[in-house]
Amino acid sequence: MQNITMEVDGHGVALVTLDVPGKPINVISQSVQQDLDLFVERLRTDPEIRGTIVRSGKTGGLCAGADLGEMLDDIARWREAESQDDLRAAVAEAGGYSQRIRAIETCGKPVAVIVHGQALGGGLELALAGHYRVAVDDATLRLALPEASIGLMPGAGATQRLIRMIGINAALPYLLDGTPLTLSDALAGGVVHAAATDGPQALKTARQWILTSGDPVAPWDVKGFKLPGGGSHSPAAYQFFGPAMAARLAEADQSPGIGNILKAVYEGAQVPIDAGLRIETRYFFNTARSPDAKAKIDAFFARRSTRNKATA
């Protein structure tokens, strides 16, 4: 594994460090995804491993999300798909990272994630796949899903897991507007389970969780799970979800992701998590392929390259 190191201690706790070589901050590339496959396989099959702690080796944070360069190529390829076979293959590819995250969640062993610094987009979604999250409480902590602002939408489970953690209405600003999650809100909603003052303390907390409680089953995988705050047709949905979506119609510079995020939330809330994740992937795919998204993404990259040149 190029991007991941793994050490197992005497208690069977595997300490996994994500450190993508040659990058100032971790991003999710194809190579990282391949490593995640190997990591999950080892986790599942190695009887010596009791549980795992995932953390980042970068000072800047856990992970800044997708490798945008790679993703642009992917999207260009997905846009070409027309036949049923090509569409099926492209959708499977678009859902690859989401499925890997789901494999971590269902590996059968407790997974704790240490979040420090930036956990953005697919990086936050990686953290959400763990069963227990410890955040390092300092000024650099930033938990956010900025996908909609660049014309995309979260595609690796955030629309499904966040609504199952804090409810549809509470999740909307994070999903639609990219509003950062404050640590206190994250703690209150169970998006983060514990705060630590620094890395070593976070490690201690995570290790203790694995060795004491360490439940390897996500709440939404327990029979009888109910969405907090009610489902898509609850009185609360009629009272808040309807007006919340109406209000966003007014935004002049509409992201193509907005409608598709709403659809993934509405439809995903009515089905089991695996179906919800498949639905999210399809809307993520539609969003990425839409001409509006292309315009938005192109504009984002134009801005970014101008800025990089200016600072170079």
């Binding site: 898509s232 047709h233 949905a237 009629y238 979800f241 309807g242 007006p243 919340a244 979506m245 109406a246 209000a247 966003r248 119609l249 007014a250 907005i258 409608g259 709403l262 659809k263 939330v265 509405y266 439809e267």
Partner: protein, 401 residues
């Protein structure tokens, strides 16, 4: 195609649609069954001749679920061969049921068919049936959904009806309804509702407030301003960028009342009537439904009226009497404005603002009201129609025989 005739029309009085309303302790099933019994008994009808019973019901869940039309038909003691079907075209369901009954007669499928509807709004709440329209983003977001009250205020904003205009219309609706009741104009259609012991529990429309004046209405706060602020004004303005800010003018006093009630209209062919010894009261000239822009939602009546009149080769002035459900005052004012209808020919005996709008039942009720008024005045023709959720309109034109 055979002509379809109206042989009779009955309705219950309308009870306040609240826990303290007189009909709250009467089931929707009983309301529907009582109108079916009344239309059978007063016509001495052999029910085996009825080839279908079509009842509108807009909240077909809970006690109004599982095809209340068939169940009410059995409870009313109709022959077990008589089938029943519950339909939903939102607020026009009762009239759509009559349109379908007429079509079944016209096609030869039915000798007699009964149309009408039932809604106990005090027992099965508005929106109890849920639905994709309000919360599924594939419709609500992509198609700019806004609730009806917002649509009504949009109509007022776009077509220039002030708060005073809509309140004045409401006062006139109350005045006309009170006058019509005092003059006995509803006597022929209204059948009192009996309680479980067979005692009359309600024999008049109890939602009316004849003492209403512009001053008392002026004190009411706009009902849909808060809903607008919550996000729906934004949706409406995104759909109608030229509109400007919405003026919220509608409230409980100039919108249709929430009530309980049922209606039944006996429709049949000439042959069936002759064989049964019944005399037709009106001939159905034609029926129509249409869709229009769904965000403003309430412009259907103008378009369905134009569609039906064009098909009949008639003009607006050829119709003697118009009946348009008073969902909201601005709906009627816009209709009158768009088609240039003389106010003295429109809703002459008041409407749902004064008497209430028991969703699924209303279409059958106002069809009966128009029929009674034609007979009372000796006029020839009437056009009955309603605005309908999601931008539709449904109409029927009749002529006295």
């Amino acid at each position: 195609m055979t002509n379809a005739y109206i042989y009779d029309a009955v309705r219950t009085p309308r009870g306040k649609g609240r826990a303290d309303g007189s009909l709250h302790e009467i089931t929707a099933l009983s309301l529907a069954a009582q109108t079916l019994q009344a239309i059978r008994d007063r016509n001495g009808l052999d029910t085996v001749l009825v080839d279908d019973v079509i009842l509108g019901c807009v909240m077909p869940v809970g006690e109004q679920g599982s095809d209340i039309a068939r169940i009410a038909t059995l409870v009313a003691g109709y022959d077990e061969q008589v089938p029943g079907v519950q339909i939903n075209r939102f607020c026009a369901s009762g009239l759509e049921a009559c349109n379908m009954a007429a079509a079944k007669v016209a096609s030869g499928e039915a000798r007699f068919a009964i149309g009408g509807g039932v809604e106990s709004m005090s027992r099965v709440a508005l929106a109890a049936d849920g639905g994709a329209m309000m919360v599924d983003p594939t419709f609500a977001f992509d198609h700019y959904y806004a609730p009806q009250g917002i649509g009504a205020d949009m109509l007022a904003t776009i077509y220039g009806f002030s708060r005073d205009d809509v309140d004045a219309y409401a006062v006139e609706s109350q005045r006309r309804a009170a006058m019509a009741w005092a003059d006995g104009r509803f006597v022929r259609s209204v059948v009192p509702v009996l309680d479980q012991a067979g005692v009359v529990i309600l024999d008049h429309d109890e939602h009316m407030r004849p003492q209403t004046d512009a001053q008392s209405l002026g004190k009411l706060k706009p009902a849909f301003a808060k809903m607008g602020e919550a996000g729906y004004d934004a949706a409406a303005r995104a759909r109608y960028p030229q509109m400007g800010p919405i003026t919220h003018v509608h409230h409980g006093g100039n919108s249709s009342g929430i009530v309980d009630g049922a209606s039944a209209v006996l429709i049949g062919s000439k042959d069936a009537g002759e064989a049964a010894g019944l005399k037709p009261r009106a001939r159905i000239l034609g029926t129509a439904s249409i869709g229009s822009e769904p965000t403003i939602m309430l412009t259907g009546p103008e378009f369905v009226t134009r569609k039906l009149l064009a098909r009949l080769g008639m003009s607006v002035s050829d119709i003697d009497l118009y009946e348009l459900n008073e969902a909201f005052a601005a709906v009627v004012l816009r209709y009158q404005q768009a088609l240039e209808i003389d106010p003295d020919k429109l809703n002459v005996n008041g409407g749902a603002i004064a008497m209430g709008h028991p969703l699924g039942a209303t279409g059958g009720m106002i069809l009966g009201t128009a029929l009674d008024e034609l007979e009372r005045t000796g006029k020839e023709s009437a056009l009955v129609n309603l605005c309908v959720g999601a931008g539709m309109g449904t109409a029927m034109a009749i002529a006295r025989v």
